[in-house]
Symmetry: C2
Subunit: 328 residues, 2 copies
C-alpha cells in the first residue's frame, strides 16, 4: 500500500495513515488523546526545548534510519544542553507514493528508540506532498526536557579538559558509502545512538562546563563554535582523537577530513581538570563511552589548534562550503 495525496487531507484517509502506521507503534497514552495539543506534567521550574528537521538520503543506512536518527538527535541535543529528555513531538512530511511498509519501519524504530531512552512521543503531525517533493519522508522532531544544569561555553576556563566519548566520523562515512556513489565496503556503521543514559550521570560532575554532539560539521565545527562563543581556544592532540582505521582509510581515499565528519552518537565534553578522571570513569563504564578519550585542553588564545601526530600545528577553520560528504 502506498501513500496517496488524500492521506494528507485531514479526513478518513489521514486517520487511516495515522492509525495504521504511527499509532500502531507509538504506544504512548499521552499521544492517543489526539487533541490539538497534548497536556503534560513538568517538574521543576525550567525546561529545555530543541528542534531539528531531518532531510537525509538514503532513508535507511547501516546502523540506523531517518526515524531512529530523528529521535536520537533530539534526545542528544536536549542532553548535551543539561536537560533530562522527557517528551518528543514528531512532524512527518511524506511523499505521495511512499510505501506504508517504509513508514512503518521508520515509526517502529522511532518508538523503540524512544522507549529504550525513557522518552515519550507526545504530539504528532502528518502532511503529504506531491511525488518528487521531499525524498520519501522529512521528519521534524522537537523535544522538551527538564533542565538540570546550566551548560554553556561561557562556563569554560583556560586549562579545562576536552573529552570525546568515542570514535568520530562513523556516521559521515556510513551515510556517504550508503549512497552507493562509491564502490567501497568497510562495515562501518553509523554511530546513531541516544546519549541520555551516558551523559545524564555527568550532570553530577561539579565542573561540567559544556557538552555538544558533533553532528553536521563534525568535531572541528563544534569546537570552533565553542571557541567563538567562549572567547577561549582549544588545543587538540591529533593522536588522541579516536578514529577507526576503516574511517581513516575511506577519508584518505576520498579526501574527507574525519574532524569535519558528522557523528550521531558522540559528545564533546569540557570539564575542569580536577574532574577529568572522574568524568572518564563514568563514561567508560557505559557501552557508548568505553572509547572515551581526553583529546585536548582549553586555551586562552581564541582559536582551535590541532597538534598533529608529527608535532605540527594546524589551525582549524569553519568550512566555507558544505563539508564532504554532504549528509543532510
Amino acid at each position: 500500500m502506498k501513500v496517496e495525496i488524500g492521506h494528507g487531507s485531514g479526513g478518513k484517509l489521514t486517520k487511516e495513515l495515522i492509525d495504521r502506521v504511527f499509532l500502531k507503534y507509538f504506544d504512548f497514552p499521552e499521544l492517543k488523546s489526539l487533541q490539538d495539543a497534548t497536556v503534560l506534567p513538568v517538574e521543576g521550574e525550567k525546561i529545555g526545548i530543541t528542534t531539528d528537521s531531518y532531510v537525509i538520503r538514503p532513508l535507511f543506512f547501516p546502523g540506523g534510519n531517518i526515524g531512529k536518527l530523528s529521535i536520537c538527535g533530539t534526545i542528544n541535543d536536549l542532553t548535551v544542553s543539561g536537560n533530562v529528555p522527557l517528551y518528543v513531538s514528531v512532524g512527518f512530511i511524506i511523499e505521495e507514493g511512499t510505501d506504508f511498509e517504509i513508514l512503518e519501519k521508520i515509526a517502529e524504530s522511532m518508538a523503540e528508540t524512544a522507549v529504550k531512552s525513557n522518552v515519550k512521543i507526545v504530539a504528532g503531525d502528518t502532511k503529504v506532498v506531491e511525488r518528487g517533493k521531499c525524498d520519501g519522508v522529512y521528519i521534524n522532531t522537537t523535544g522538551v526536557g527538564k533542565n538540570v544544569r546550566n551548560l554553556s561555553p561561557l562556563n569554560a576556563r583556560e586549562g579545562d579538559v576536552v573529552i570525546v566519548t568515542g570514535f568520530i566520523g562513523d556516521h559521515g562515512i556510513a551515510i556517504s558509502l550508503a549512497r552507493e556513489e562509491f564502490d567501497v565496503e568497510t562495515g562501518v556503521l553509523s554511530d546513531c545512538a541516544p546519549l541520555n543514559s551516558l551523559l545524564v550521570p555527568l550532570f553530577e560532575i561539579p565542573t561540567l562546563r559544556w557538552m555538544r554532539d558533533p553532528t553536521r560539521g563534525g568535531l572541528a565545527t563544534v569546537l570552533i563554535e565553542f571557541s567563538e562563543s567562549s572567547g577561549l581556544g582549544v588545543k587538540l592532540y591529533e593522536d588522541k582523537i579516536p578514529v577507526r582505521e576503516e574511517v581513516r582509510f575511506v577519508c584518505d581515499m576520498l579526501g574527507y577530513d574525519p574532524l569535519y565528519l558528522a557523528n550521531e552518537g558522540k559528545a564533546v565534553i569540557v570539564v575542569g581538570r580536577e574532574d577529568a578522571e572522574k568524568t572518564l570513569e563514568i563514561l567508560k563504564s557505559h557501552e557508548l563511552g568505553k572509547n572515551a578519550e581526553i583529546i585536548g585542553e582549553v586555551t586562552g588564545d581564541g582559536s582551535v589548534q590541532l597538534i598533529t601526530s608529527i608535532g605540527g600545528v594546524r589551525r582549524l577553520e569553519l568550512l566555507e562550503e558544505d563539508p564532504l560528504p554532504r549528509i543532510c
Copy 2:
C-alpha cells in the same frame, strides 16, 4: 541573493543564512544563545505541546503567508486545548534557489505575529534541500504553553451550546483563488490570525468544555471528530452559520462546501447553556470575535446533523478524499 545547497552545511554559509534572515527578525534573547537546546522558565505543573508542519502553496496569499500561518496555527492549537501559549520552535526546510528576500518576508511576519501575540520564538533549525524538493519552504512550528484548563470532548453534555467565533471558509477560498487556477476575484482574505487574545479570557468560563480551530477539513470535520470522541452528537442550524456572501458565491460556482473549507482564525466552542450568553459577550467584545454566533447544540444521538435553511436534515460525514480545495 539565493539560497545555495551550502547554506545547509552547518558551516559559515549556514551561519550567514541564520544571521541575515532569521536572527535579523527573530529578536528573542532566548533564541540567540544558539545552543542545541534553549532553557526556559515554566510556571505551573503542566505544559501543553503541539506540532504542525506547513507545506502550503502559494507561500504568499491574500491575508497572510506560510510564516504567519505557521505561528498562528501553533498559537491556536495550544489555545484551543486550554493552554496559554508561551514558546514556539521553528524548523525550516528551504529549497535551493529560494530568494533571501522571500525568506526575510516570511521571517518578518513570523516575528511580528509572535510579538503581537506575546509568544517567543525560542529554538530553530534550518535545512536546505535540492532544487525541486519542497515548494520554496516548508515550516514546522512546535509550541509549548502553560496549561490552565483541561478541555476535552469528554467534558461535553447533552444540551451544551456550540459557538463559532466568526465567518467560516475564508482561508480555503483565499488559498484556492490565490492559486490562479480560476479567474475569479472576490477580495476574500484568509482569516489567518492568532486567537490567544480572543480565547484565553474564556478559560474563566466555568462550563467551557472544548474548543477547536477548524483548519484542514473545516467545521464539519472537527465536529464529526468531536462527536466520535465524545460519543455525543451535534445539531447544527445552517442558517446560523456565518458564511460571507462571496464565499458562498465561490462555493456554488466551484462545488465547494463551506462546512469543509479550512479556517485559520476561527474556533468552535462548546459551553454549557448557562454560560452561552457570557461566552458570546466576551467573544463579541474582541475584533476577532465580533461575528460569533451560536450555531447549534450538543445532542445525544452520536452524529452531526445539519438542519438546513429549508428545514431538511443532512448528516455530515468525514470526507473520504481530500476536501476541495486542497490547501496544504
